[in-house]
Symmetry: C2
Subunit: 191 residues, 2 copies
Amino acid sequence: MTSARPYHHGDLRRAVLDAAVDVITEHGPGGVGLRDLARRVGVSHAGPVHHFKDKAGLLTALAAEGFEMLADRLEETKAAGGDFVEVGTAYVRFAVEHRAHFEVMFRPDLYHAHDPAVEAARTRAGAVLADGVADQPDPELASAAAWSITHGFATLWNTGVLERPGHDPIELARAVAGFLFRDQGTGQTPA
Amino acid sequence: MTSARPYHHGDLRRAVLDAAVDVITEHGPGGVGLRDLARRVGVSHAGPVHHFKDKAGLLTALAAEGFEMLADRLEETKAAGGDFVEVGTAYVRFAVEHRAHFEVMFRPDLYHAHDPAVEAARTRAGAVLADGVADQPDPELASAAAWSITHGFATLWNTGVLERPGHDPIELARAVAGFLFRDQGTGQTPA
DNA sequence: TACGCAATCTTGTCAATGTCTAGATCCGCT
DNA sequence: AGCGGATCTAGACATTGACAAGATTGCGTA
């Protein structure tokens, strides 16, 4: 039920979520405060509470939204005929372009990780990654490896540890993903 | 310097760090509070401040300690003749066994990421991983891939997303790391 | 040995936060 | 019209991080 109709504010729920994204992008998930968000959006200090119940509730909503967006992107990429390398690249692209969502999604201590919507979308996203390597000899292992290298690259890039000045993360991600299955035809890209 | 001598408490600095590890292991990095730690250790609410200046200072100390432990482990593994698979496995083992440290280390928004001690130890750890794949055709790319798959597996396992009931994370990590260089023999790289 | 000093820890305080409660405001439906 | 309920406001309370000033303790040095 993501629909919130314009009452006093217009669309407070979305406004708060957007503000939270801004704050997280700039200061990380630790920088979010319900009162600060309320201030940014122009409502009273307890306004957001009614929509999210909790600080954890707000982050749960963000995580659910993030997993759904991610699953959508991966499914679209696969539906367009993308192999694992393309799907993995889409994963990294999501992480870079929606850094705030991504950071919250993989910090289950910050939100209600067992929320049904979150779990459903997360499972959906994982299925696409696993399906992309289903033709491998050991699909279980290949799936773990594929998800690991993709997620690891995204995480390391976002934390700044892997930063290569002058390199485009998407191109580098494509090369790294291709490296995993370099013995097969797909995936080699000119630098 | 890490040396703290027994004054009133005995070794408050270490006691606070240990308590923080306990809290983080159980409730994540968001659960740490200076006052709560002080309570657990049995000192007044402002006791820890003198040793760490800040909440961020405390986490900086934890991150530095973590990167140093990690770098030590990786260097030991490599010195014992371990190839990349063994080094990567040691990386995952550290992440699983020192989950609290590991979680803080890769959340630079929580501490002073530009602390010299932190940066030095982090660079040292990265060098071992890069060096383990230096014999590859494209060392830069292989290094990024190696670090990504290793770090990704560790992260996903710790967040519970990759959990396989009945599987030992270390064994699975070894298999995943081996998958990256499966075309080469189980490569005993001589020292 | 005694003294002074600095490191260590305590106590008190302040602004800010999360969350709860009660009340005000406004929309949609009958 | 006007009622009901969703939406938001206002006030309050416990807790937290951070700061300031004072008390306590061990160590080097004369």
